[in-house]
């Protein structure tokens, strides 16, 4: 056991490559044999990843899912922000400039619409559930924007740690639902071309959710959605503790 642990920890990233590779192989096999390609293999793999993350979190009590298990620490590096961003940028290789220009305006509009709509929905839910303090309502609304905007807004406004945790949870629910729901709903919302992918990225905004959701829908759409999604959190952090808070304070 000691030998195993030593080797696994010393080569953690390689362990992650092997484990993720195996997961994908199994997922594509299942997608092919049992769903006849109706469910994309990567959608299954991402769902397996989320399930594993749940059990990893339950077992260790940590915040990083499977990556908190000693033997699978490399998954944290492989799936961390640096590698994710590196691979996302790489998907832009071969993207045609004209496609971006075509959807440029709709993309920008969608980023603003996405932040404001998610915030309003989150704030309304907070009010329905009995929150009446403008700081609490704003923080929960900001959590529905993304799990980064929530705590950034909450700490800027001096929200309690309990409310900040709640806003992070709301953002996580959103992110996970976008990962799982996108391939299922793609057909019904016309998500099959670069333009709608840019609008989708701008409306959803959660980089992880959009990245995984589009990967499981059509990998060709990834760069377009990711491009707009990366501006979303920044805009949310800008609007949350300022204009959106002032509006909530004036209304409540």
């Amino acid at each position: 056991m000691d030998i195993l642990e030593t080797v696994f920890i010393r080569n953690s990233l390689l362990v992650a490559f092997a484990v993720v590779g195996l997961t994908l192989w199994v997922s594509y096999l299942v997608a092919d044999k049992f769903t006849h390609g109706r469910i994309h293999g990567s959608a299954i793999a991402i769902s397996l990843g989320l399930v594993a993350a749940y059990f990893g979190g339950k077992l260790t009590g940590g915040n990083n899912g499977v990556a908190d298990l000693t033997l699978l620490g490399g998954v944290g590096l492989m799936g961390g922000g640096m590698m994710r961003d590196f691979a996302i940028v790489a998907t832009a290789f071969g993207v045609k400039l004209e496609e971006l220009k075509k959807a440029g305006l709709a993309g920008v509009v969608s980023i603003f619409a996405g932040v404001i709509v998610s915030f309003i929905v989150g704030a309304l839910v907070a009010i329905v559930y009995g929150y009446s303090d403008p700081v609490d309502i704003t923080t929960i609304g900001a959590g529905a924007v993304t799990y980064i905007v929530g705590p950034v807004t909450g700490s800027a406004l001096g929200a309690s740690s309990e409310i900040i945790a709640l806003s992070v949870a709301a953002g996580l629910v959103k992110s996970i639902l976008v990962m799982i729901g996108t391939p299922m709903i793609a057909r019904y919302i016309g998500l099959n071309n670069p333009q709608s992918a840019m609008v989708f990225g701008g409306l959803m905004g959660t980089t992880s959710g959009v990245a995984a959701g589009l990967a499981a829908t059509d990998p060709k759409l990834v760069p377009y959605g990711a491009m707009t999604a990366t501006f979303y959190t920044g805009l949310g952090c800008l609007l949350g503790p300022s204009i959106l808070f002032f509006i909530i304070r004036a209304l409540v």
Binding site: A67, G79, F86, V117, V125, G181, L203
Partner: protein, 132 residues
């Protein structure tokens, strides 16, 4: 050389991140504003320009394509390190807020895509009109 492509990709990301961080400081926001998006724009410009030919063709291009192909495995690893437990333990307020935000945003995708494409169609038809 494969590493030229990887180096170009890394340089795009680092410069994009620097600009994103600077934008964040300038806007007084505690976040990187669009760093990845800006990096993607750099890579799109580079891959559409003839000046960077030696960095994007042949073996160099394969260095970028490799990381593009590693995207899905990396996303699977990313899913496996999410704090799923916290999402479930946030209680009903968190779950309802998250779900409602996603449902409403999904519903808006066709609406906003239409606005964009309609404008585009008008524009192209105007262009065609002046052309003929």
């Amino acid at each position: 050389m494969v590493v030229y492509g990887v180096a170009l990709l890394s340089a795009c990301l680092i410069v994009g991140m620097l600009i994103g961080e600077a934008l964040g400081v300038w806007l007084q926001v505690e976040a990187n504003v669009g760093g990845v998006g800006i990096a993607m724009l750099f890579l799109v410009f580079a891959s559409n320009s003839s000046r960077f030919k030696s960095l994007i063709e042949g073996a160099s291009g394969r260095g970028i394509e490799f990381w593009s192909a590693m995207y899905i495995p990396i996303v699977v690893a990313m899913a496996a390190r999410q704090n799923v437990v916290a999402a479930f333990e946030g209680g009903m307020t968190a779950i309802v807020a998250g779900v409602a935000a996603v449902v409403v945003s999904f519903a808006l995708v066709p609406v906003l895509s239409k606005i964009g494409s309609k404008k585009e169609r008008e524009k192209t038809s105007v262009n065609r009109g002046t052309g003929s």
